[in-house]
Symmetry: C2
Subunit: 516 residues, 2 copies
């Protein structure tokens, strides 16, 4: 890349000190953005496949070489003379060293390839840097987030006039918020302002009921909130990781009998591994009957709301007290694009905050709105913007087509697995992911050997830069029972490409089997 | 702007469905990014000043018109035919409706104008979408964050070989993490795994000591953690909001006498309103003597580490158990660019997590590193990248010059205030902010009238689109005692522009005085 110094030289200031805002911001950004786009193309070509070949230490060494070479920064040597050069080198390094979810061979996680239109929208947000913690840092962005939240609430079956919500960093933060509001509503009534959390010293032990396949952020939230990880009671699941409603009913009854307080039921709409959706309507009824808050973690499955075909899976979601949705999963946004919603805005009470430098009462009386009390964060990027642009560009229908395309792809992949003698399907996909494993040819392997084989073939694919395949273990199977996973989030991938990926899995399995 | 449809038409897919990754991603982004840059320039020109003129409802109405006009999205009408058009319209709306910290008249909050090079770097992150929760979603980004954290730890006076840390969404999340680790270390030792938080039922009441001028996120963190907001004991401050160390000593003693557990001392390095830095060395000694964790909230003041002139203010910071730094404040990054650091990596223990689908033990044994246990989040954008590019482009020295320029600007602004008969300076700036108020001409106003005057003149400046000036109240002055605030974070602003801004304050004050 040619040195951008001349292009950037405007005025007498240091070339690298240009700002992205103001009337000159766009002009300052232009050559830098061009350098990034060119580095992205170069880096993708250099990488070739879905991720860089090599061991983690090889990649770390390449990164360290670049990072440490520039130590001392612009003060000494070339960097100051040519500020775009550092940017170019680092962007190429990042592209060449990424696991790229836009590559059909990268299909492990709920890690979506972003839409170009969402990424371009996000550039406007970076450049203008609105912060949602006060109106006077984000006049238009405050209004836009409020409108978007209303629309998403309606999509989830809430009454937009009564619901409330906020953009979050993802399901983990949204789940924490849901459980915090639940804790404060349910326990606040029992012990007043300060939370009585321990059963040791007398008070009733607070409990959270979530399926054994719920995301680990539920336990983590319980730990953060001081309830303790072991406050979470795992509700047994069926073979495809869907909560058994009879077990939930029995556990809620047993909670009551032991004098414990069921603070919340967490239902999962789209488990990370299988996309299973818990029986939402039954969860809502049981939670209500026991005075518990219902939080639905629809971080993954919330994308089904966009699809006429899949939306019925989420029947009953509108009865949840709170919801997590992640548009950086089935919504094709760059991270972060989490959404937290509550059905009734009054339930937000324990998060309300008055900060005299951000939302003084007389400013609010004068009509200046504040989103501060809706979030656990203070400074907050305007992540609503890229979602709004995407939603208006594609419409719910357009996004629904992408969801359906990924669903079709998962079904096609599952068929390929079923038809292959060396692969074993765990269960039909519910959304866009499925579990499977390599079982080898000839005589059956011992369970431990099979686990080793699947874990090793996955690492081989990573090491060879050939594929990023997921892995997990199933609750109830005991530790170490490795399953492989494909999570199909790239709507442009073809069934033939998924088949090719599965054949690469088999080839890696054979190679590992030869080493046994 | 001309319709981009033709430019975008590649292959047979829907034009608006292009992805940002893969070998074709850069080409797909190019026309969209060009549309955004052109919309940013148009929007800034339309806006003219530091923020749009009008009342919040006027701005909200303009946003609603655009947002609701496109309802139904690409499925019907023009949007599908011309996907770049939606993006352009929304980006222009956002630019025209922003409070732009790159404008010299926008100087209210710790809301910095980002450097163009950081914004361009952030575009690469959006496009590639690495997620820091597992290595196989972010091979190079994992290595880069680890290197950056080491360098920042060294800059703060930690031993990089023993320290650990992570990028966060900002000081609020970093403060929560610091207090959570403090709670788990100090209370874990008292009551085992589950946290005994209430004094009501017997156990010792946990306490957090923070200055009366500490950020409200300290109270909020105490609420989230189940300690209760009232677990935070406010330590009295001096006139410029610096913690009085004698008072801290006395309060710690009194805690002990009452059988309370001082879980943490929170020292502020750079209060939001005055930039005051608590006596860090004394805080460290007192915390250690009482078995309390020392968390230093250097979200704002951490920027002083970049400046040879100001770094001595943070003397003793390396003795903190944990630290918050925000590069989206004195670091010119777009949000979010928070950093959380601990002095000893072992103290991170209570955050460690094993998720079988993200960091299985055998993958870690095989050399695959995981940052999962370092963060409260799961999906996590690679915010380290833009900081690394900025640091290597400008170097610590280059960034230090920007810090010093803002410090000089604040001092110049304070002199202008002192010299103006209608303005009253609260105190000399420590970092880059100062408090003042309009006192009017002629006979002295009653306190309530003065408060009304200052609050009203600020809203007048907002309404007229003329300036974004901060406001706050001082602890100890009682509610409603309004002070105005300038936070100078734009290194390209000149002292003459700051003087012009202060004259606009006086003009607005005169206009409001005429209405009394």
């Amino acid at each position: 890349m040619a040195c951008l110094a001349r292009t950037l030289r405007r005025g007498s200031g240091d070339l690298s000190e240009e700002l992205s805002g103001g009337v000159g911001g766009a002009a300052a950004l232009e050559p830098l953005v061009a350098a990034v786009l060119s580095a992205l193309a170069d880096g993708a070509a250099l990488r070739g496949g879905p991720l860089p070949a090599g061991l983690p230490q090889d990649i770390a060494a390449a990164v360290a070489e670049e990072f440490l070479a520039g130590e001392g920064g612009g003060g000494a040597g070339g960097a100051a003379a040519c500020p775009g050069a550092v940017l170019s080198r680092f962007a190429r390094l990042l592209a060449a060293g990424s696991a790229d979810p836009a590559h059909p061979g990268c299909a492990a996680h709920l890690h979506c390839p972003p839409l170009a239109v969402a990424v371009a929208a996000d550039l406007a947000v970076s450049a203008l840097n609105p912060s949602q913690d006060s109106w006077d840092q984000a006049p238009a962005a405050t209004a836009l987030e409020t409108l978007l939240i209303g629309e998403l609430a309606g999509m989830a079956g809430y009454d937009p006039g009564r619901a409330a919500g906020v953009l979050t960093s993802g399901g983990t933060e949204s789940n924490l918020m849901g459980l915090m509001l639940a804790r404060d509503r349910v326990l606040g009534a029992v012990t007043g302002r300060r939370v009585e959390m321990s059963g040791v010293a007398g008070g009733p032990r607070p409990r959270v009921l979530a399926s054994a396949a719920a995301h680990f952020s539920v336990q983590r939230a319980a730990a953060v909130l001081g309830l303790g990880e072991d406050a979470v009671i795992p509700v047994p699941v069926d073979r495809n990781l869907r909560m058994r409603e009879g077990e939930l009913a029995a556990l809620l009854d047993s909670c009551r009998r032991r004098g414990q307080v069921p603070v919340a039921v967490v239902a999962t709409a789209g488990t990370t591994d299988t996309g299973a959706v818990d029986p939402l309507r039954a969860c809502a009824e049981l939670a209500a009957a026991h005075g518990a808050w219902l939080h639905v973690d629809a971080a993954y499955g919330g994308g089904a709301l966009l699809s006429d075909r899949l939306a019925p899976l989420l029947d009953g979601i509108g009865a949840a007290d709170s919801l997590s949705l992640d548009w950086h999963k089935l919504g094709w946004q760059p991270a972060a694009a989490g959404v937290f919603l509550v059905r009734e805005s009054e339930t937000y009470a324990s998060l309300a905050r008055r900060a005299v430098y951000l939302n003084p009462a007389d400013d609010e009386e004068a009509g200046y709105p504040s989103l501060l009390g809706l979030s656990l964060r203070t400074t907050r990027r305007a992540d609503a913007f890229k979602i709004a642009v995407t939603l208006r560009t594609l419409g719910r229908e357009g996004l629904g087509r992408l969801v359906d395309a990924c669903h079709d792809l998962a079904r096609a992949g599952a068929r390929t697995v079923q038809e292959h003698p060396r692969l074993e399907l765990h269960a039909e996909p519910v959304l866009t992911a499925f579990l499977f494993r390599y079982v080898g040819g000839g005589a059956a392997h011992e369970p431990a050997a099979l686990d080793h084989l699947n874990a090793s073939l996955r690492r081989r694919l990573l090491r060879e830069g050939r594929a990023v395949v997921g892995r997990t273990e199933l609750p109830g199977e005991g530790p170490g029972r490795v399953r492989l996973k494909l999570t199909l989030l790239n709507p442009h991938t073809t069934p033939a490409e998924v088949a090719r990926l599965l054949h690469a899995v088999v080839a890696a399995g054979r190679a590992e089997e030869d080493l046994l």
